[in-house]
Amino acid sequence: MASASDVLHRQQSSTTSLRLSRFREIGIIVFLILVIGITLIFKPDFLRPINIRSILLWVPLVIIVATGEMMVIITRGIDVSVGSILAFSGIVVGMVFRDNPDFNIYLGVLLGILLGAILGIINGALIAWAKIPPIITTLGTLSVYRGLVFIVSGGRQIDPNHVPVDLIRWSQRGPFGLQWLPWVVLIALGVAVLAALFLKYTQRGRNIYAIGSNPDAARLRGIPVETTTFLVYLLTGAAAGLAGILYASRFGFVNPGETGVGFELTVIAAVVIGGTNVFGGSGSVLGVVLGSLLLGTISVALSVLGVASTWQLAVYGFVILLAVSVDALIQRELRRATTGE
């Protein structure tokens, strides 16, 4: 009995879900305005150029890696080894620069991406074909890759005078020498745009959503589940590799025991806050960019307000829990509206 009331219900619930899916991005923006507003009350000059610059320099690393991490989470996986991959790429390429001062920085970037991709390939192969659960695999490689960083570097850090000046300049100036829009920001936006196009307009990109939305159906529909799973870890590794070089550019050093430690938490926070469903199947690059921006703003606001940096992790944690709770509530309402469960 597909009565008129059924049809009406269906239409209502589809508009509700539409409204709620938009709600996420708008929610982040509202929250962002809230954070800025509150900070402005205590520090009226919060939006000084120097603080905006701090925010802009904070986000690129997160955006780049979080874009990859989002794809992993869409496939119902997780990659906690990104911080170690970032450090590995940063330290190896840093050593190459140190030992060959004339090394082409673009080749260096390429090398960093390649190294990251190789470590990502190891993750991907273990997860896709050896069928080891993602959390176990990447928890293992988190330690293994970090160990490699120490072994390769002998525990020595890459100092600022070893990082090519041109590379450091990527974090200082942008096109036409613009100070407020450094190249690293544009690189991150470029990565985000490419990822968004990939996810929207290629079959491989759509397959990522499909295998996260219903893995059994994906397999029966002939979607290459293993290859696709492998690909997302490879891409995330490559993204972390690129981020390693940009880390050297931004901070001017790479330290085996410090660089990228705990970075996975920030990245996962950005992905989750950005509205990616932790149970897989949905997520958007725009959400991740906004999520990163929110975290960056909170981070800078906290330091401007004089809150100790040790508190920052707790604040991230709180924001993640808030985001996930709001999500859970929305999901429950949606389910109730559509199925009565």
């Binding site: 597909a2 996260g212 009565g340």
Partner: protein, 504 residues
């Protein structure tokens, strides 16, 4: 029939899962422009057979011919490329993606020459295909939240978008309402006219005879006959399916002594699940609950047991109003629920038989806070004997038992809690006929001991043979109420499907 050569032909297919033979020398030929019914009891091997044709399973031996070539179908992808599409019992859709993508996933239209997906063409062609099926669905709508029938249409549209010439439908009507079934039949007939070869699996004989051009009957993994609907009778088909006349099934007999009402339900409602459900079950009585899959019967049982909240209504147990918020409340009032899905809701598969059996009565086997293994084994052994469960020993993992014995183990678990009221959900689904009779005998015994039993079942013979009274549900409401004397299969089906009966 229409053409001389079959589109697809399976010869002497053999298949085994973990040492259990599920198909033995099965043959099947499907011609273009034909709807071929595949019928048989649960476990007869129907699904396995179509899954082999769709590349999901690999046969142990046998040959598949596509048109004139012997082919090997190693995976679903290959089957898809050959034009073979499988519509699953439970629609296999992607809830996070929209309708158009669900149709075209894996073969999205591209902008000329580029790897770029052409979304506009995809939406346009989706609308076109859905239109040709006569389905009113927005290609932009997310699939999450669509009805099962609509999701099935999306899957059918997907098959058409890939130009499928062989359409394998595994119980497509199991979760549909009668009107939705009619809509589906219109589409199936339309596809048949276009020369698509269709395999149609169903349990419902009346559907099979309404839509099929030929019927193949399977029993216990073997081919037992092929008939044309106009040349056969329902009785003959049933006899082929069951291998014996209907009367050989367990019959509990009539005129049981019943006592006070133990369970009284008044106006129970839950939004989008069921409305205004009222009935009672007396001591010593078995009340059968009939209806189509998805009519809301399981939800009523879950609500009574406290795993689904109710919006309105009252429940009385032994005359006292109770508020059951969680299963432990139900247990405290002496009511247990034996769910349909043993695998997910009934048993902890890797744990031992004795661990499983004593789960609902831990206080009986413990001293203080400590469980006593010796008592556990003693209790388990006791029930193994009572219920005649066949096993090596009670420490055996429960997953190693056969379906029938697993079902008895679930029963044992709840019987150990010494309930007054038992809610049974499809107590014999997926177990073989011999074990079925055993379970039926057991249920009968429980009733004669003065327990109140509500038995949800989709199997007509079971409902008719076991129940003292029969409640029929349709679309979340009670649509019929029969005493044992009044009940006939026709009346129950009419109530379950909302059709009026032409009878004197």
């Amino acid at each position: 029939m229409t053409d001389k050569t079959p589109v697809i032909q399976a010869k002497k297919i053999n298949m085994a899962f973990g040492g259990v033979q599920v198909l033995t020398d099965v043959d099947l030929s499907i011609y273009p422009g034909e709807v071929h019914g595949l019928i048989g009891e649960n476990g007869a091997g129907k699904s396995t057979l179509v899954k082999i044709l769709a590349g999901v399973h690999q046969p142990k031996s046998g040959e598949i011919t596509l048109r004139d070539d012997v082919v090997n179908i190693p995976d679903p992808q290959t089957a898809t490329r050959m034009g073979i599409a499988l519509i699953h019992q439970e629609p296999l859709t992607f809830p996070d993606l929209d309708v158009a993508e669900n149709i075209f996933i894996g073969h999205q239209p591209r902008s000329n020459g580029l790897p770029r997906i052409d979304w506009r063409t995809m939406y346009a062609r989706s609308a076109e295909i859905l239109g040709s099926l006569g389905v009113d669905l927005d290609p932009h709508a997310k699939v999450r939240g669509l009805s099962v029938a609509d999701q099935q249409m999306v899957e059918m549209a997907g098959a058409l978008s890939r130009d499928a010439t062989v359409l394998l439908m595994d119980e497509p009507t199991a979760a549909l309402t009668p009107n939705e079934v009619e809509d589906l039949f219109v589409i199936i007939r339309h596809l048949r006219e276009q020369g698509v070869a269709i395999v149609f699996i169903s349990h419902r004989l009346e559907e099979i005879s309404a839509i099929c051009d030929r019927i193949t009957v399977l029993r216990d993994g073997r081919w037992v006959g092929e008939r044309r609907p106009e040349e056969t009778t329902t009785d003959e088909i049933i006899q082929l399916m069951v291998g014996r006349p209907l009367s050989a099934l367990f019959d509990r007999g009539i005129n049981h002594k019943t006592g006070e009402p133990l369970l009284e339900v008044q106006g129970l409602s839950r939004i989008r699940k069921f409305q205004d459900i009222s009935f009672e079950v007396r001591a010593g009585e078995i009340v059968g609950m009939a209806g189509l899959v998805g009519a809301g019967r399981t939800d009523v049982a879950r609500a009574l047991f406290g795993t689904l909240n109710i919006d309105r209504g009252t429940v009385r147990i032994q005359g006292k109003e109770v508020h059951i918020k969680q299963p432990s409340d139900a247990l405290a009032h002496g009511m247990v629920y034996v769910p349909e899905d043993r695998q997910h809701n009934g048993l902890l598969m890797p744990m031992s038989v004795s661990n499983n059996m004593t789960l609902a009565a831990l206080e009986k086997i413990s001293i203080g806070n400590w469980l006593r293994k010796s008592r556990e084994d003693q209790y388990a052994m006791d029930y193994v004997e009572k219920l005649r469960i066949v096993l090596r020993n009670v420490d055996q993992p429960v997953r190693e038992l056969s379906g029938g014995n697993q079902q008895k183990a679930v029963l044992a678990k709840w019987l150990m809690a010494e309930p007054k009221i038992i809610l049974l959900d499809e107590p014999t689904r997926g177990i073989d006929i011999g074990a079925k009779a055993e379970v039926h005998r057991l249920i009968g015994e429980l009733a004669s001991r003065g327990l109140a039993i509500l038995m949800i079942s989709s199997e007509m013979p079971e409902i008719l043979a076991m129940s003292d009274r029969i409640i029929v549900m349709r679309e979340g409401m009670i649509s019929g109420h029969f005493t044992r004397e009044e009940a006939t299969a026709e009346r129950i089906i009419a109530a379950a499907t909302g059709q009026t009966l032409q009878e004197a």
